[in-house]
Homo-oligomer: 208 residues x 2
Amino acid sequence: MTEADDTKRKLLEAAGAMFARDGFRAATVRGICSEAGANVAAVKYHFGDKLGLYRAVFRHAFTFAPPPRAPRTGAPVAERLRDWVADFLGSILDLGRPAWHARLMAREMTDPSEVLDEMVATHIRPRFAEMAAIVGELLPGGPPAAIRRAASSVVAQCVFYHHARPVITRLHPAWKFTADEVAAIAEHVAVFSLAGLRASAAAIRSAR
Amino acid sequence: MTEADDTKRKLLEAAGAMFARDGFRAATVRGICSEAGANVAAVKYHFGDKLGLYRAVFRHAFTFAPPPRAPRTGAPVAERLRDWVADFLGSILDLGRPAWHARLMAREMTDPSEVLDEMVATHIRPRFAEMAAIVGELLPGGPPAAIRRAASSVVAQCVFYHHARPVITRLHPAWKFTADEVAAIAEHVAVFSLAGLRASAAAIRSAR
DNA sequence: GAAGCATTCAAACACGTGTTTGAATGCAAG
DNA sequence: CTTGCATTCAAACACGTGTTTGAATGCTTC
């Protein structure tokens, strides 16, 4: 039993890396099984088929992903925004764990499958709602559309460093994302965004 | 001769749509040829092989893509930034032609191939340089790293609406990108960014 | 030890893929 | 008309793929 669970786990890990690196279609069952030291038939036995394995990989990966840091509820809005950005950027730029979590997500982005719905519902929506709440405090009385746009601006500056990686690498080969640099980026995004949000608030007031 | 050029053109267009929708690997030569009303062997004859067709599609697509609007050289920085954002957002959110240009690009992003290098050199780098120049004027004396980060913040807010589309659709099903909404987004991004850049400039001054 | 069960294994199957072939076609020049 | 050339075509080839099979293995329980 523990042995069966072992091949199951190895299969999930190997599949995670493979699916992230090559995509669902390009990744081969044979390659995954060989990497996991398992027989090809193992995926049928444990997961039904290739798609079942893919689904399982997602659930497995994001179940064990570290939950976002709990927000400091007492702190002023600006501080909470700083924390959110730093936390989110950290989770996006490798600094944590198996680097392929983010890649899997990115693939779902350009090639959405049924799992994206699940992902949005369980992980993305709550996260976005946090930011929208912070933005809402900074744009008091702002219409929902304005809040959506403003929250998007903050989130966009973070995810950019993930999804545009291939271009960034080619554009600025020397730009390395060390822990220090990530901290500097987080600080920049926070300063930039707080000022931007204040300006948006002013624009909303004057438009009224 | 005109007939040969015709199948060649039809092949390029069908391939563009297919590659964009399904990706290089998933798109099939048979499917493309059938869509183009051509024989399977046509791709070998005209482009050598599938990869040759893919390369040709990129060159064809981006050669005929409308060039970015010429900047108003005399206008103040803030106006030039506004123009740049509006222009870039417009080119990103369908409003212009064959919607698959952007999708092809997005695919290269998560699955970079050799053509991405060409794309960065000929299209992305000049575009980014324009924005970096504008940002440079607004952050006088700012270190290159700060300018990179700031320019990234502006660009990020634009490309977000393209690459995160699948998530945005699921998060805010009612959010439609009409011409009016795109204009509103452009205005928001400009206001947000100008304020953010001023704050960054202040941060740089005070850190000195 | 025997029976039952979960798991693993090597081999094969069925199918879709990119590619190649060699003949057929049509058109322009001699 | 004939020749030469570019292009198209149906058919086949070679290969990698996900999937399935039925037997072998090992472990637990009686």
